[in-house]
């Protein structure tokens, strides 16, 4: 059984689609190929890989309640050329809290399958994409904290060492707890893909994080990111375009 994953995020690195793709791939049995789509020049590669594949998985972010425009363009080109035997899955991730917001885009892939004659096998809609993406940084932060904690203990700075180790544990703990739903859904979807079974439309979001907490964390994240990466203070985020 061969599965071809196409990563459709426009981001060159550190994308949520890439993270979701790799997580799902961990649980796939059988041959797996990933193509990072960058433009129409990749069409040939895609068609070539699809020649002896059974499963095709589109992994894409949700843009303005639909598929991003470059994904539509790719789908239009593939529509006439793909093999009708393919089982097609879609892994969507969106920025908002509710994974259900991906439903429209998942159904667009379903309609593409009808046009192309391929077999739509459902997919996954993951909410809080940006939050999942950023939470990954907890892993290196935790590792650094653990190393520093161990060093501190070795040099007999006992209190500092213990607090750094607790810090390391906290970062890993929250990464794991918040991402649990994603891991479970990726595992379930992957097991269906491995068997070419219908996955239905499944939706999930961050675990153990109610939407009010998501709102606070995500808003704080935007404020910090604007300030530390671009030097834009909080109040300038609200600028109006026509009032320069």
């Amino acid at each position: 059984m061969k599965t071809v994953f196409i990563n459709l995020t426009p981001k060159k690195k550190n994308s949520m689609s890439g993270y979701l793709l790799r997580t799902t791939k961990l649980f796939i049995k059988g041959e797996c190929v990933t193509i990072n789509y960058r433009g129409s020049a990749d069409d040939k590669k895609i068609l070539c890989e699809l020649e002896n594949a059974q499963n095709l998985v589109f992994v894409t972010p949700l843009y303005v309640d639909g598929l991003p425009s470059h994904v539509l363009e790719l789908l239009q080109r593939l529509e006439k050329t793909v093999s009708k035997e393919l089982n097609v899955y879609a892994l969507l991730n969106c920025g908002f809290y509710e994974g259900e917001q991906c439903e429209l885009a998942l159904n667009m892939v379903k309609i593409w399958c009808k046009h192309s004659g391929t077999n739509f096998c459902g997919g996954l809609g993951l909410g809080a994409g940006e939050m999942h993406r950023v939470l990954r940084w907890n892993i290196p932060v935790s590792a650094i904290s653990a190393v520093l904690g161990a060093l501190a203990l070795a040099f007999n700075f006992h209190t500092l060492g213990v607090s750094l180790l607790w810090n390391a544990f906290g970062f890993i703990f929250f990464w794991f707890i918040f991402s649990l739903n994603m891991f479970l859904s990726a595992q379930k979807t992957a097991s269906n893909i491995s068997k070419s079974k219908n996955n239905g439309l499944c939706y999930t979001t961050v675990s153990f994080c109610p939407s009010w907490l998501f709102t606070i964390l995500a808003s704080g994240y935007w404020i910090l990111r604007a300030f530390f990466f671009h030097g834009i203070p909080f109040w300038k985020i609200f600028k109006r375009y026509n009032l320069k």
Binding site: P10, V64, L72, I111, R225, K239
Partner: protein, 161 residues
């Protein structure tokens, strides 16, 4: 000007309307969020279209004329819409029971959306297009979103208004 049109078909521009012909000269969103964080309210790609977000959210009337592609907007029109999130804020508000973005402008535009070339399409595809159009309009803080379908594969100003 208080009216803004996005079309994927060549039309004579009515007076007092800002119109964007989507298939020409619109760069593709790279998903960088620069329009929220780096140069708030405008896209970081200065191709003359960096103000699309304001046009979509700060006008009384927004009219979109599009073919249906897989139960949604056509790729060229979608390319314009993908460039328009600068019209809202990165923060959140709940509308219609779901999370959406907080608004940058208090204007509540009325969206008129015309899908043409619908004669060959299934009801499922048309229904999905209607829902996708509504969802987009709610995301952009619309007052109302009116969707209509035209069977003809070409449309003129008379068909639309």
């Amino acid at each position: 000007m208080n009216e803004y049109w996005i079309t994927d078909i060549t039309l004579d521009k009515p007076q007092n309307v800002d119109m964007i012909y989507a298939p020409k000269g619109v760069a593709r969103c790279t998903g960088c969020f620069g329009c929220w964080l780096k140069t708030p309210s405008e896209c970081v790609m200065h191709d003359g279209k960096q103000g699309i977000g304001e046009m979509l959210t700060n006008r009384e009337t927004v009219r979109i004329i599009s073919k249906i592609t897989y139960g949604g907007f056509s790729a060229p029109v979608k390319r314009v819409l993908d460039r328009s999130i600068s019209g809202v804020l990165p923060f959140f508000s709940k509308r219609h029971g779901r999370m959406h973005h907080a608004v940058r402008y208090q204007t509540k535009p009325t969206f008129y959306i015309t899908f043409y070339d619908c004669s060959q399409l299934s009801d499922e595809e048309k229904a999905l297009a209607k829902r996708a159009a509504n969802a987009m309009a709610i995301n952009m803080n619309c007052k109302e979103c009116i969707v209509n379908f035209i069977d003809k594969n070409i449309c003129t100003l008379e068909d639309i208004i």
